[in-house]
Symmetry: C2
Subunit: 643 residues, 2 copies
């Protein structure tokens, strides 16, 4: 898709008339007085969370935002492979794939040895290693990512739209409240001209601060961002420009001899490009805003770095200046470390409210959305009484560790990019490139690895599935669906619907035989007294509504008779008791994709992969580890009422 040729226009580029691209916000309605979850802030984290909760009509969610409406321009743009996997679960990856710029390769530029005023290409690397994800690394205006989430919210069972023009005043947590109480009282001020100064009070079971680096929610629970003070000023601008720089449509990192660094991020539509331009070293404690840097100065700096290439900026779609600092808060909820055993979290913070860093590794939006994806299903499970409230402690435990890694990574990467360790004396361009490649899995978002906990099992059976490490995201692979021969990605059956998934990889031999391990497992899950499927599925609900079990066989799909398979894998669902034909899969042998080989599954024994609602591998177990499977779910789930 090519667009933005005659100037940047916000909104859906498939809609010809820009006036049709954005609907007016419905901020005029008053806030509800009581909600299950109040989300503060309509950034990537807030919208990821809202879109997740909107899937559940039995949860009352409200999302507020200080701005008067939808974001239209600027800000983050990097979408990591792992985030694309999550978008797929939300149902809009194909929209992003179509509209975005794909980062296929990254080029590196250094001072010319013969004339250090000029730059030359020092190397080229593939941006994402082969096989790391079925999705590419892409770039798309954060505003368009918001639009996708807003569509999901609007179309979801709970039909959610943000309430704009609300400023959080304060929040109070009632320490004496019971679990089911609306323990948090929040006061918000309307700031649109029509309602200016009106104060609304909302009582919520849970409040989530997705309100950015200056988070009022964070302050209200007494937490602070700790970390380095800023010392480098950068400019960022989205431009329509003419240049003879040959890599203008590649992600490119330029390190000049004396003028600093510049990072090129080509953008969606074929014309727009984002430039990150290193501006100056700041004094300790100095803020870049106080320097009154103009866009002309940023362009002038970029031109000096670009030499001998020219740069003629025709339009600036958005620009800003910022200083780099790596800051982190020590806990992502309102429960002090010392009170973990006695108190349940009521207020959470996500994204920039808990961690801030430089934008140039493209991590901010991605990690923030993953924060929210981690929290969303947990909140929903607790509110829907499927899991014990205890589960909510795992949010801060899991995501604070991830943020810590991010901060450490960013400190190193920022130092490499900043010119004081840059292209001057002793500079080795290969070092930059090496570091970039070495951390490719990290920046793709696939390196996140949760430690053993109530949600992350021990590695006793890890050898049965060497390519699916416990604690990392479930790495999809191609398969063929038994019932209709469709080639698809196994991981893409997982929607953002709050359900757990068990992928049962069959052992060798005929799965239809009465002695097969997969039949044994199905019998246990269907009938066993300890079966988590039986125990935690509400009466009258579809058998897969809490834990969705799928089987993968070793045979090609024409070799198996669907009628001979365990009936647990052909469940009757819905008001008509129709058969669900989408539970069984085979390797895509014709296309050369044997998932057993690709993911290192033990062919003799097979195994079970237990996958969380946010796509992380919670456990790997042998097919007959019934008791261990039961014990795992018993660790955090609760039986439905009356069961």
């Amino acid at each position: 898709m090519q667009f933005h040729q005659n100037g940047f226009m916000p909104g859906d580029p498939t809609i010809a008339d820009p006036a049709d691209r954005y609907s007016a916000p419905r901020a005029s309605e008053a806030l509800p007085q009581e909600v299950d979850v109040l989300i503060v802030g309509c950034g990537p984290a807030g919208l990821t969370l809202a879109a997740q909760l909107a899937a559940f009509p039995d949860i009352k969610t409200c999302i507020v935002e200080q701005k008067p409406g939808r974001l239209l321009v600027g800000q983050a743009d990097g979408v990591a492979c792992r985030t694309m996997e999550m978008f797929n679960a939300y149902g809009f990856s194909e929209r992003v794939l179509k509209e975005s710029y794909w980062v296929n390769e990254t080029s590196f530029w250094k001072p010319d040895d013969n004339n250090s005023d000029n730059i030359v290409r020092s190397g080229w690397v593939q941006d994402v290693e082969d096989g790391l994800s079925e999705f590419p690394h892409v770039i798309l205006n954060q505003a368009r990512v918001h639009d996708c989430f807003l569509d999901v919210m609007r179309h979801a069972p709970a039909r959610l739209e943000p309430h704009y023009s609300r400023r959080l005043l304060d929040l109070q947590i009632d320490p004496a409240a019971r679990v089911e109480d609306h323990a948090v009282t929040v006061r918000l001020e309307r700031i649109d001209p029509e309602h200016e100064g009106q104060v609304e009070t909302v009582r919520a079971r849970y409040v989530v601060g997705c309100d950015g680096a200056r988070s009022t929610v964070r302050k209200a629970i007494g937490r602070e961002l700790h970390g380095d003070s800023a010392n480098h000023a950068w400019g960022v601008m989205d431009v329509l420009a003419v240049t003879d720089f040959p890599d203008i449509r590649f992600k490119a990192l330029i390190q000049s001899a004396t003028e600093g660094s510049l990072l090129i991020i080509p953008r969606e539509g074929g014309y727009l490009v984002r430039l990150y331009v290193e501006l100056a070293k700041l004094e300790i404690g100095e803020r870049v805003a106080n320097r009154n840097i103009t866009s002309d100065e940023v362009i002038a700096k970029a031109r000096r770095i670009f030499k001998p290439y020219t740069l003629e900026v025709k339009e600036i779609a958005w620009w800003s200046v910022y200083e780099i600092g790596q800051r982190l808060t020590d806990k992502f909820d309102d429960v002090p470390e010392a009170e973990l055993a006695t108190r349940l979290p009521r207020v959470f913070i996500t994204g920039d409210a808990c961690h801030t860093h430089s934008p140039k590794a493209g991590q901010g939006m991605n990690v923030s959305m993953q924060d929210a994806f981690n929290l969303g299903w947990k909140l929903a499970s607790v509110l829907r009484k499927r899991c014990a409230p205890l589960l909510l402690h795992t949010y801060s435990a899991e995501r604070q560790a991830v943020a810590k890694e991010l901060i450490d990574f960013d400190r190193e990467w920022a130092a490499i990019l900043a010119s004081d360790k840059g292209a001057g004396e002793g500079f080795d361009p290969a070092e930059t490139q090496r570091y970039f490649v070495q951390h490719g899995r990290y920046t793709a978002g696939t390196a996140t690895h949760y430690r053993p906990s109530m949600l992350t099992g021990e590695s006793k059976y890890q050898h049965l599935a060497k390519g699916l490490p416990i604690g990392k995201r479930f790495h999809s692979a191609p398969v063929i669906r038994l019932a209709d021969g469709k080639p698809l990605h196994l991981g893409h059956i997982a929607e953002a619907d709050g359900r757990w998934r068990i992928y049962a990889f069959a052992s060798s031999g005929d799965p239809a035989s009465s002695a097969s391990a997969i039949r044994g497992l199905c019998d246990f899950l269907a009938e066993g007294r300890q079966s988590p499927v039986r125990r935690y599925t509400p009466d009258g609900a579809d058998i897969d509504s809490v834990i969705d079990v799928r089987a993968v066989f070793q045979q090609a799909h024409r070799e198996l008779a669907i009628g001979a398979m365990p009936s647990f894998l052909l469940p009757r669902k819905g008001r008509y008791g129709l058969l669900d034909y989408e539970k069984m899969f085979c390797p895509d042998l014709k296309a050369g994709h044997d998932i057993f080989a690709t993911r290192g599954i033990d062919r003799d024994k097979g195994c079970m992969i237990v996958v969380r609602p946010d796509q992380y591998v919670a456990h790997v177990l042998s097919l007959d580890a019934y008791a261990e499977l039961a014990a795992f779910f018993d660790g955090f789930m609760v039986r439905p009422e009356g069961k």
Copy 2:
């Protein structure tokens, strides 16, 4: 995507609330009094044409429909590979891919040798041969295909919505009218209760009848459907059902011993299935409607064919009975054969208005949409004064031949499926399967082959591109974009925008060299006195606005320097003169896709492929065949005014 589990619901399945799935039709506005094109009928052909014309804000189009609103259920559902390629040009193939059922394999069933009351599987074939198209054969409710086109129309520059509840009364063609006159006067009656009986008169330059088998437009120009009278009655139903028939999620053709044939077409959402059930042989001239067949009778018949398998129908989403007849009209416009040289067409007919046949080869909707795609760019080119009105004669010439082939194919296929040549005495199940495989390219829609004409060149240079036959659709293949390393399908750069495309495949050697054939071609196209690009592009318009030239090189993308390429391939566009970086491509060697090998391009000489706006190969020429290239375009194009 799984849906329809608790009952069939029309509209976009990603929208949770069915009430939000369809907007009320805007039929209330009066029709315009004068239009360029009046389209009669909102079926697949009418909407394909309307969506094409909506791309041009300078063309005034109006589309009317007798029904009171959008189609919601039933009718056609097969989408051939070739149609998916067209959907891609319209920008919604990814929506259809996501929502549809994919026909991966077809199974064949015959009477059991041991007990001929029962059926057994006789064979299984891959539905589409490998490499035939980059798109699968899919199945999706015609109503959803309409929705996609309606979205394209609504979002396009000309913003088009149908006027519903209009019945065509009559039309008159003024024989004395000049080319630019509104020569056709059409009277329509409003049939919605609010405006019942009001008559509107529209004067149009062109009228297109997309109004089905009983087309009033066809009758108004004095044409008739000729062909066999019906002799077989069939029932068709979309059902939610429970069965133990193992291939219920495969396309399956059952030929029973004594009860006739049944065709299973699984449908989108994982639960719905369409059944075509052979009912009875009719007397000559008898209409099935007169038999008062009930849905219970159709189900009972299906059950008898299904034996020994059970079929329990839970809900009928839509059903109908019909008789098979193959009928065709001899010309698709208002110009009698004898007046071809002296008269220009003003009225056209498309789809079922010109050809009717059995639905079971899944051809009807596909051929109708291809009719409209063929006509759409021609009408637009003439109205926009890019092509001579003479061009309009090619519509009937090209499409009537295609329809004739369809009718002949359908007659054979219907006979094979009908039980009088079916599973009784002398029946050979392998014959059915063989015929199906043999005609796979035909049913996929990729066999269409236009004969030499003003639009289809002679085969003098065909040997330079053996895999891209002149007159057949441009068969896409994967490439890498030079400027950003993106892997994509070469054919997918073609949008339904009325533009011609020239794919210049470079000869071996350095394309940057001053002696290279590709540079020679670019110089000719940019500067040559006879260059069709120079001659037919209006002053001030982008250089690629009429003929869009793309180059494919033989080298890998890292081996070429974009700055050294002909500047014609890096054109400046739009109000800022921004560079368009999407004109140059390389083979995707890493992924093993060498387009030169795949499409049989002569590596020594290279070649030019001239592709029509509807994706058909118009010509294959050597890279230096400047005069022949010029002559080809001079045959039907006209110079812009004042040039």
